[in-house]
Symmetry: none
Subunit: 210 residues, 4 copies
DNA sequence: GGCTAAGCGAGACGGTACGTCGAGTCTTGGT
DNA sequence: ACCAAGACTCGACGTACCGTCTCGCTTAGCC
């Protein structure tokens, strides 16, 4: 997940400190909270982690990659308990996601890193694999449960299934991010209710008529 | 739209060059295309515009504010011709918006500026007033037309109306941005069709049951 | 003395404000006292004088020339009353000169302008004509009186006379400046007594044996 | 002599490059020759030295301190061979000093730095210790030799001795500087002969009658 | 138990851009 | 033609980070 530069996990020499790894990621998150993306500096992170700058660069190629890794782990907290209905499941995960985006280390870092990725293909790939793809599981699980409950029909065409999963993911994630960061208005119960009503209704219609 | 510091248009002294204003914004867009947000420098913009760096700083406090102004005007291109159905209207505006986001000057600048705005209240406000609020008109027009056509019921409660308009705006804009910049997959006819089906279906359901 | 740029005192148009001239020079001296040479700015002088920067540049080509003129007038205060002996005359003028060099507007400006003049021939010429040559009168007067009193022989060779006058001028002015500004030690009665003893003794010897 | 900020030579970290030190001082002198004090820029010196601007500022707080150090070493070239008589010794050292002041790097830098020092106590101190005090040795040696030869009486009072040494130093240095830079006339054999005659004669008189 | 290859903290290095400031010029409208 | 005001170009300032490069010093595993 972290070290890019070890093509062959070399057997000899002093091994890298795993404490340093953890301290650096933790320090990065702390710095994000206090300073935000653009004022976070590698030197400062190193100091906070009680580590030399060299040690950072031995593990991550640059600021962006470090921040992606530092933030990615936060998204793994998201989970989808079975609340008995598609609508409840959606509302729960949206609120969870909104809470995550409220945390300063995510809100500022996520967009900044996405912005950088528009010009940096390796970074985009890292974001995809470290964050985006990992969270698609939520949509997958939610859809599967709704189908088991009979709330959604079982589509046999895998292409359609994947396309719809992708759409739902983009709509939910996109809407929450846009509401929270661009419109800068609260993701509260009222809004979430409207969103999930829209989705549940829309999914029914989409499923009925392809 | 640009000069923050002239609450009272002073009568005396040499007036600011309006040519410089235009040249700077144009140069900023050109630099964004070539270099992207993070490699754009104030000095370079000044050189391109044939203007001294001081002249930039006399008008904009920093890179972010300049870029917001330079990019904002692009969003005014968006329009909503009456295509005869809510669905067609949605598809048209989504494709237009996606095309706009494909342009390098928007894709990189928009996210970067939004990222910065999470730490910079004046910047957020500038984004809201220069970009976000101005484009809500599209949702408003679309909804009004659909109501005239009888595709959507006429809601009398202004609070509900505004909340739904806001939701639709966040969903459409958020989904397109997420698809284009985060998922990094194409906003093609197929995807747009699915999205508009979801929305039209969902809106019907939402309108039926508050 | 001031306006360089009027080759022909033009008859037409609004005449230059003589109040402005005085105010500028006075403001320049005030700024020198407070800020010293290197921190004095044209804009600041203009503000202090209640005048536009344009008005300064209409009269002086640049900062150096302005400062020379502002300071030159101070040197005209030096005078040489007849105190009855060569030695007393020397001591008096040295003390006067030292007092002048103690004033902050002279001490900082004089050296700075001389420094600039090593690379700026017109400036050197302006210094010569505005300051240096004007003060040689003191040496001349002093020598003439000493000859009348019989303290010094009357040399008939004008070349020798001028060379000796110049030497005395350089020695006195140079020694005082060096003591005050380089060695940074006080020009007190004791030191002045030693200097004038050296000079009177030396002049006698020089006069005796060409 | 250069690094102000290392009171204790720190043991850790990469040590400062001594080549950079030398290259910077040499580049400073070269820039002084070509451009003079006021047109010398830190960036240019850095470029000439093949060094980053940061490296300059890591060693010297500002232009003045750098120039003092760059120029100080030139004064160490002055020497006082025993030419057999006080007068010959004086003439020799005066000519040497005049030659030094003729060099463009000294003539422009010396006065500028002295001018700045009138407002900058640390700078004045640096000049005293780096330049002035170091050259007083010349006066000391000259006086001692003259006493050995019997040209000057041996004064027992150390206060008088030091005062006279200081006077001679100010007179010689001041007169030469004033002749060369203010009067802007040549320090030629004729002038030097007159000056040394004045000094030798004067010293005799001063020694005879306290 | 010494060898050796890597890791480590510290901090100097070459760069690049920043945002500010001052010099000297130009352009208003008004005297 | 003058003036005050203030925007203009230009170029240097000194600072801050970047990512790299020595230093001298651990700290393992392998011989």
């Amino acid at each position: 997940m972290c070290s890019r530069t070890s093509p062959r996990t070399s057997r000899t020499g002093r091994p890298r400190s795993t404490e340093a790894d953890a301290a650096i990621l933790e320090a990065t998150r702390a710095a994000l909270v206090e300073l935000g993306w653009s004022k976070l500096t590698m030197g400062d992170v190193a100091t906070r982690a009680g580590v030399a700058k060299t040690t950072l660069y031995r593990r991550w190629a640059n600021k962006n990659e470090l921040v992606v890794d530092a933030v990615a782990v936060l998204f793994d907290e998201l989970e989808l308990p079975d609340l008995g209905s598609l609508r409840a499941d959606i509302e729960y995960v949206v609120l969870q996601f909104a809470a995550l985006l409220e945390r300063p280390e995510t809100k500022t870092a996520l967009m900044a890193v996405v912005a950088e990725s528009t010009r940096d293909e390796p970074l985009r790939e890292r974001i995809r694999s470290s964050i985006v793809e990992r969270q698609k599981r939520l949509v997958l699980d939610g859809r599967r449960r709704a189908q088991l409950r009979g709330e959604l029909p079982v589509d046999r065409d895998p292409v359609t299934v994947e396309a719809t999963d992708g759409l739902i993911f983009d709509v939910i994630a996109g809407a929450v991010v846009h509401r929270a960061l661009v419109s800068a208005e609260p993701v509260d119960g009222d809004w979430v209710a409207r969103l999930s009503a829209l989705l549940v209704g829309g999914l029914g219609a989409v499923a009925a008529a392809p």
